[in-house]
């Protein structure tokens, strides 16, 4: 009995000491990492930080990498005489956009949101929730806003976020990269300069129609997230426009478009579909890869958008 008590005391004492050392390391290294994190001026996290904390643009662009790579705010700014910022974040889905919008409203209310919508945003995928991790560094500061959105995935999700190291998960190399080599960034827009080569069997390719997402399961959480996104925007008198980016190949179907249309009608939102725009279809020189426009393509696309926005009556004030 005495022996086990002795061993138990040793275990408890070591456990206690381990907790102390762990907390000390977490606090010190975590604080350092956080300081470093907020030093970066370019890159994905710098853009998120700017969108949440400093942005005051009248027009903001939201969405995933298509939003980030296809919309040049400088053209919108110069043509429409308005301020504009590109808040697009690579790989993100609609749940993230809902969270971002709520965070932006903590700071100010934009007049127009150009939301680049994606067919796959409504499809059930764990990555829609996992990628919310991009907001981990901001979680404790904006807990009240983010908690209801984060807990949709799992009620356990919040616990590790009290650890500073976990908040900074996967950010360190990213931070160092952009501190050492800043990324070109035009009001949040990150241009691509590659040019896609026309395939050798160009004629056959012309006949290509993309039809990838057959029989995908719809995640109603994502549908509700967009509904909530539109409601929040309406509450703040922000005009939302759903935009489908140009594609290089003809889309066979944009299977989830009826769901977007439902919400568009419900919230009186225009849907501008550029996916089959002939100025882009099979124009390989306007694309960086199969999914993204290059800078030339982005400039052309943004100019087309400017025309559409100018045609809008009444123009939101």
């Amino acid at each position: 009995m005495k022996e086990i008590q002795k061993e138990l005391l040793k275990v408890l004492f070591s456990g206690f000491m381990a907790i102390i050392v762990f907390i000390a390391l977490d606090l010190s290294l975590g604080t350092m990492a956080k300081k470093l994190f907020f030093i970066q001026e370019t890159g994905k996290y710098a853009r998120i930080t700017h969108s949440i904390e400093d942005a005051d643009a009248e027009v903001i662009i939201m969405g995933n990498s298509h939003a980030n790579r296809h919309y040049n705010p400088e053209i919108l700014k110069d043509s429409l005489d308005i301020t504009c910022y590109n808040c697009g974040v690579q790989g993100q889905g609609i749940i993230f956009q809902e969270a971002m919008l709520s965070l932006i409203y903590n700071n100010y209310s934009p007049k127009i949101i150009l939301l680049n919508i994606e067919e796959k945003w409504f499809y059930a995928s764990q990555s829609s929730y996992d990628r919310l991790a991009d907001l981990n560094p901001y979680y404790l500061k904006y807990r009240a806003t983010l908690k209801p959105i984060f807990s949709r995935d799992s009620s356990f999700r919040e616990f590790p976020l009290y650890l500073k190291s976990y908040q900074m998960n996967s950010t360190l190399i990213h931070t160092l990269r952009y501190i050492i080599a800043p990324q070109p960034d035009i009001y949040g827009y990150v241009p691509l300069y590659g040019k896609l080569k026309a395939p050798e069997n160009f004629r056959n390719k012309k006949a290509t129609r993309i039809n990838q997402n057959i029989q995908q399961k719809i995640d109603m959480n994502c549908y509700k997230a967009l509904d909530s996104f539109c409601k929040t925007a309406a509450l703040h008198d922000t005009k939302v426009i759903f935009i489908i980016s140009p594609g290089i190949y003809l889309q066979n179907q944009f299977e989830t478009l009826p769901l977007y249309n439902q919400l568009a009608i419900k919230h009186n939102i225009p849907v501008w579909n550029f996916s089959s725009n002939r100025e882009f279809l099979y124009h390989y020189d306007l694309f960086n890869d199969n999914h993204h426009l290059n800078n030339d393509g982005a400039e052309l696309f943004t100019s087309l958008l400017v025309q559409k926005i100018k045609e809008m009556h009444p123009f939101p004030q």
Binding site: V11, V21, Y166, S170, H174
Partner: protein, 468 residues
């Protein structure tokens, strides 16, 4: 239940406290462990608990009958009952569709068309592991190497002990079973060693395997879109993904078992430091390699036989080992290739020199075999190998933020390499003063936890070996 899940984080302390509350009562401890093991397994799919229970009852009964039966023919009959039931269950759940499809395709090639449907069968997690564990018990009892136990609870705990139930190490009854029959001591040393192994295991899994896995999956799941250098790099990362995944699981299992005063065998011993393929198999998945050695290779005649029979024995052993890993021709080819490596090595080199060159060559050969292991089909494997040799091309670098993933993986692999290098060559000779201090060690492991939190992937990903 996964080790890398929040459920396990709650489950483990509860079982731990309950277990040690009854430290004087071995029977109660076994009941707690057995219940916990069934909860752990049933968390995934409770229906398959019946399979474990059935296997347990069969081998317990066969063991008891083998003890009382003196007639050699009857004893053999009991042994075959156990083997047929165990292999039958494994064969049905794991291989039925594979053999049916292969038969249909084979007959089609010679012009015979048959209409046989495949079944929608769910592969019970860990069936290959616990089946081999119970079978080894019956074989050892049959060979009179082990006295069968009368204690059903202890036997059932041996079969289903949760730390190693679903992905090993595959324990032998003479090592594990007696530990459930005797008093287990609560010791600080065991708790401390166990916790350290769990931490290292999580580092291997969450930082190395899961980080590397992101790049590897991107490349191997879109094989037609990539070029030679990309495949080389992805294969290199896969070598560490599978090592981190499996050795990580084994370490967590061994560490968790230690928390309950149970000692499991070492399953990995720095395999990528091996000087030959033969040496590699003495360091990689040791519990399975030794199982095949003792229950397949040696019964077939081992190496003390004619050259032709020895070649046959080696090839059969590795072919079966490949098949054990999965119902796919890629695994069979992978196993056979490793058998061929061993044959050539044994024939060409009587003694392998322990040089950096021999270690490097071994690593390259093993990596080459991993292409077969990871490819989704034989055709894809051939295409990948062809691309590596014919079209080096450029290295695929993921877009935007995803670029950091392989960088984290390489950073973590470098840390692992230094750690293994130290343990392989210097750990026994030099013991730095700093690391002899208790608090230095404690800080070192706390730092590893911090590194896991900074660099790990936290998406509850499955362990690769669950599918085997």
């Amino acid at each position: 239940m996964l080790f890398n899940s929040f459920e396990f984080l709650i489950f483990l302390p509860i079982v731990f406290v309950l277990y040690w509350m009854f430290y004087k009562n071995t029977k109660a401890q076994n009941i707690i462990l057995l219940t916990a093991s069934y909860v752990f397994y049933g968390w995934w799919d409770w229906r398959f608990l019946s399979l474990i229970l059935f296997s347990t009852i069969v081998d317990y009964m066969v063991g008891r009958n083998l003890m009382v039966c003196k007639n050699q023919k009857q004893r053999k009959l009991f042994l075959w009952i156990s083997i047929l039931i165990n292999i039958g269950l494994l064969g049905f759940f794991k291989y039925y569709n594979f053999f049916t499809e292969s038969l249909i395709e084979g007959l089609y090639l010679i012009g015979i068309t048959i209409q046989t449907g495949t079944l929608r069968i769910i592969l019970p997690v860990g069936i290959s592991f616990y089946t081999f564990q119970t079978m080894s018990y019956t074989i050892d009892v049959y060979k009179k190497k082990l006295h069968p136990t009368k204690n059903f609870i202890a036997f059932a705990t041996f079969v289903s002990f949760f730390p190693q139930l679903v992905a090993g190490p595959i324990e032998r009854a003479p090592n594990l079973l007696p530990q459930f029959l005797k008093f287990r001591k609560f010791s600080y040393a065991a708790m401390s060693a166990g916790t350290k192994q769990i931490i290292l295991g999580f580092f291997l899994k969450l930082v190395i395997a899961d980080r590397a896995g992101i790049y590897v999956d991107t490349v191997f799941n879109n094989a037609s879109q990539h070029e030679g250098f990309t495949f080389l790099f992805a294969t290199f990362l896969f070598a560490f993904q599978i090592y981190g995944d499996f050795a990580g699981y084994s370490l967590i299992a061994i560490g968790t078992a230690k928390l309950f005063g149970v000692s499991l065998i070492t399953n990995f011993q720095r395999p990528y430091m091996a000087t030959s393929v033969g040496d590699f198999w003495k360091r990689w998945h040791i519990s399975l390699s030794s199982w095949f050695r003792d229950y397949v290779y040696i019964p077939l005649g081992g190496s003390r036989t004619k050259m032709s029979k020895w070649v046959r024995n080696i090839l059969i052993t590795f072919l079966v080992s490949g098949l054990w890993h999965g119902a796919n021709w890629t695994f069979i080819l992978w196993g056979t290739l490793n058998g061929i490596y061993i044959l050539f090595e044994s024939i060409l080199f009587k003694e392998v020199r322990k040089t950096i060159f021999s270690r490097l060559i071994t690593f390259v050969l093993i990596c080459f075999s991993w292409v077969l292991f990871r490819a989704n089909s034989i055709g894809e494997a051939i295409q990948i190998i062809g691309t590596i040799f014919s079209n080096p091309g450029t290295l695929f670098i993921p877009n935007g933020a995803d670029i950091v993933t392989p960088v984290y993986a390489l950073l973590a692999i470098s840390m692992l390499f230094l750690y293994e290098l130290w343990n392989e060559f210097f750990a026994e000779k030099y013991k730095p003063y700093f690391f002899q201090k208790r608090y230095a060690k404690l800080s070192f492991y706390c730092l590893i936890i911090i590194l896991i939190l900074y660099m790990g992937v936290f998406n509850n990903s499955q362990f690769i070996y669950f599918q085997f």
